[in-house]
Every structure is written in structure tokens, then in C-alpha cells.
Subunit: 207 residues, 3 copies
């Protein structure tokens, strides 16, 4: 419990940092930056909790808000130093996605959801904040890219759900494996520039 | 009851198919396509249920998710054959809108809502998924078009609400009439290229 | 209570009018205009209520819907006369923002929220409707501007929360002061063309 709380806070910080840097080229002011950082960090979990009809996590515990605001301000101040390490941020973002998505599956199953809605909850929590960030800052959403972003989440969460169904598998282990698979496959996609094969992609511009 | 369940599933399939085809020109991969299909299919109803503070329908019954995913994948596979019949899709979409909107009114009234909020619920359920789809795929939302899309919903739902107030009118009949009016007026708008008259439209570009 | 109800209705009318006029150059028809007016007017409060898990305000009381629709239609009809006074609308909008945000803080605290989530609720209620309007009509969201919009809300709400913590301060007075500070600082920003200083703004185009 305590560990998953710390992981949640760490993922919040991660998403706030990467949210601010993703929006960075856009001539924004500090207040806008804080809004983008906070929205990226808590947006996906907020949609998750509204759909699950449970109290929204940052209303119940303001530490998530404070962590996201502090991370956004720190990122604004240190932006020149961070910018030289932009590639690292994709891995940091992958780590945040992995943690948010696999924990969201646990939360959903604890509330009695079936496997299919729990999988959807994992995806929503993993990509929701990033999509709201893209909408607010006028960027094409990650849905429009052939980069593998939602696919690693689907893959890791599906394995996590399969393991959780097997008798004798420790639920915590299944969650760690699911998260590790999300992080590993997303990182591999970044490092090796994986894209969806053509056969699974619509040819553009022929409508 | 059973019939309205089947109608709901059919409307979900309809929206997933038309959602995928509407987003089709955009160089998307299969996972993105599934996301767009599912969001278009269940987005409006999800907003409806969150506003109504009732359990979101696809969390309670995963068949809606499975139907939307299956329809999105099938549309991806059969896209070349379907593309030749694009005009038919506008009528299929009109059918989905009519079913979703008129059923949402029934659900809202059952929960004790007044006529005005129930009418808004019908509109939200009818156009919500399509608007989220447009935002995710970077297209102008249907609000920005002079094509008649929300107007047929308003018209059919208003008649449905009037009929439901009349003594001696079978509620199921009122709902069927409301849905038929939405489908009929939207189909006529498509077939006859109806647009709002100039007097009810803002002249563009004069701000 | 009665006074805050009337203030809420007045703010609803204000947002509907400014929402319609902000979207005005876009070749929209009357139904689209009503949708934009209503969404701008009730969007922020709807997100607030969904996050707070309380009944959405316009479901419980349809007067908000009727006020927003009437204001949107009236604005459409009187658009040429209003257009000559566009500058006034920024002050009217500031008044609506001030009322919505400071009342949202009161509602949030009444529901037992802490200061940080209550502050976020004030901001969401103040800017949520305008952001949804911008997304629906394809305009850059107000987050992307250096104009001071969210900043006056943060300032006024923070002072309101501080005053509410002080012993012996009348809560109603604290709310009026908070709202007056939002209105005053936003109006000053409009009148004096205040923008964020460069040191608090990301230089554009260097990503």
C-alpha cells in the first residue's frame, strides 16, 4: 500500500515534468505551464476515478497536486539543463505510464470490474493526461502517431490480467510484471524506433 | 428492455464503424483505430452516465466494449469494400444517433430528470462520441458545420418529450416516434443536402 | 443563498453571451451557437460537479440551461449591436469568471475539501467552460496565451482561502473580496494590456 502510494507520487512527478517539456515550444507563461503539468499528471487518473465513480484521488489527497505543481515549477526553472537530456525523458515518461496503467488495473479490479473494463481503465489512466495536454496545447494527439504508445500499455496490461487469473500467482508480482512489460516494450519502441507495420496501418491521404 | 439492450449494442457497432471511417484518412495504426472506434461508440454515453452519476454502462456490461472493438477491427479489415459505400454510412450513422439519443431520454426521465435536462442528455449522447472523435483526430468538430446534425436530434427529442407528456400515449411508442423523427430528418438532410438557412447562420470571417 | 443563486444565474448568462461572441467568426448556425453558449456557460461547473461527485447543477435546476439558451439566442439576434461594444465583453467575462470561481471555492469547502483542491476547483470552474468552447470551435485554448486569465483567478482565490482561515472573518465577506480581486486584476490586465513578464514565460519556437 505504502509502496504503491510512493509509486503514484513518483509517476505524478514524472508526468508533470514530461508534460511541461512536451508543451515547451509554445510560448507559454508559468501559470499555463503549471496548468499543463498538473493536467498531464492527474488528467488520466481523474477520468478513471470519474468513470469508476470513486472520489477523485487528488481531492482526497492534495499531495498529488503539490507534487505536480512543484515538478512543473522545477522543470520551468531547470529547462535549459533538462533540454540537453530530452531523450531520457521518453524513458521517464514510459516509466510513469507503466506505473499509472498497472496500478489503475489493480484499483479497477479491487472495485469489482471485469477484465475488459479494467484493461480500458489502464489505457485511459496511461494516456488520458497526455491526450488532454495535447488538446490544450494544440498538438496532434498521440492517437494520430504511428509511434507505439498505447500498444505497449495494452500488451503489458493484458499480460498482467492473464497472470492475475492464474492460481498461485502473487497479485503484486503480476502487477510488477505488467508494469515492467509496459516500460520495457515502450522503451524498446523508443530506442529502436519501432513503428506499427504497414499492414496494420491505414495509408494516409486516400479518403 | 431486452429490445433496447439489443438496440444499444447495434448503435454501438454503428458508431464504431462510422467513427473508424470518419477518421480514416489519418495514417493511423490499428490500435489508434480501435481507440477511435471505441471512443466514438461509447464516448457520448460515458459523458451521459458521468453527468447522471450512474455506473458507466460499459463498466457494468463489457459487451459494449467488445462490440465496439470487434466492429473497429472488422471495419479496418474491410475498409476497401466499405469505402465504395461511404454514402450509406451517413444513414447508418443517422440510425445510431437516433437510437442513442431517444434511449438516453428514456434513461434520463427514468432517473427523475426534467424535460430540459433530459433533452440535453439526448443531444450529448447523440453527438458526444463524435465530438471526442473529432478532437482526438484533429478534425473540425461537427459544431462548426452548417450540416444539420444536432438539429434533427433536438427536433426528434422535443417531439418525444411532448408525446411522453400527453396522457394515454404509450411511452415505448413515443420513443420510437422520437427516434424515427431523428433518423428521418437527419437522413433527409443528408439526401437533400439541407443546410441551415442564412438567416439562422452567422456570416463567417467578419469578426 | 438566494443571492448566490442569482449571482450564479447572472454568471451563466454572462458566459453564454461571451461564449457566443468569442466563437462568432466561425460561420456557425443557430443550433451550433446555442450549443457553444450552453457549453461555455455550464461546462466549467459540470466538470467541477463531476469531480466533486455531487449532482450536476443544471440537472438539479434547469433554470441554468434556460438562462444559457435564452442568452445565446438573444446574443445571436443582437449581434450587430453588441459587436460595437466588444471591449465591454471582456469586462463582463471577467465578472462571470470572478463569480463562478469564488462561488466554486465556497461549494468545495462546504463539501469538506482542503485548500489546495478547493483552489483547483475555483480555477477549473472559472476556465473550464472557456476551454471546452475553444476546443469545440478549433481556437487555441486560453492556456496558450500570455494574456493574464488563469493568474487573476489563482490570485483572488488564494486571498479568499487565506481570509477564510483567519478567525473572525465573515465567510461571505471573504468570498466577495476574493471575487472582487479576480474581477479587478483581470480587468486591469485587460485595460492595461498586462502580460506575463518574459522571465516567467518560455521563449517560443526553440524546441
Amino acid at each position: 500500500l505504502d509502496v504503491s502510494y510512493l509509486i503514484g507520487l513518483f509517476a505524478t512527478v514524472t508526468f508533470s515534468v514530461t508534460g511541461v517539456l512536451a508543451a515547451r515550444a509554445h510560448n507559454m507563461d508559468l501559470v499555463g505551464i503549471i496548468v499543463v503539468g498538473v493536467v498531464t499528471a492527474v488528467g488520466g487518473g481523474t477520468i478513471r476515478d470519474m468513470i469508476l465513480a470513486v472520489p477523485v484521488f487528488w481531492v482526497a489527497d492534495a499531495n498529488y497536486l503539490l507534487a505536480a505543481v512543484a515538478a512543473a515549477v522545477a522543470t520551468f526553472l531547470a529547462r535549459d539543463r533538462i533540454q540537453r537530456r530530452m531523450q531520457w525523458l521518453l524513458y521517464l515518461d514510459a516509466l510513469g505510464v507503466a506505473m499509472f496503467a498497472s496500478l489503475a488495473v489493480v484499483k479497477s479490479l479491487d472495485l469489482g470490474l471485469g477484465a475488459a473494463p479494467a484493461l480500458v481503465m489502464g489505457v485511459i489512466t496511461g494516456i488520458g493526461g497526455g491526450i488532454i495536454r495535447d488538446l490544450l496545447t494544440g498538438r496532434p494527439t498521440l492517437i494520430m502517431s504511428r509511434d507505439l504508445y498505447a500498444t505497449p500499455i495494452l500488451f503489458g496490461v493484458a499480460v498482467q490480467l492473464l497472470l492475475l487469473r492464474m492460481p498461485g500467482v502473487d497479485p503484486a508480482l503480476a502487477t510488477v510484471i505488467g508494469g515492467a512489460l509496459i516500460f520495457g516494450s515502450r522503451s524498446a519502441a523508443v530506442f529502436l524506433h519501432w513503428q506499427m507495420p504497414d499492414i496494420l496501418t491505414l495509408p494516409g491521404g486516400d479518403s
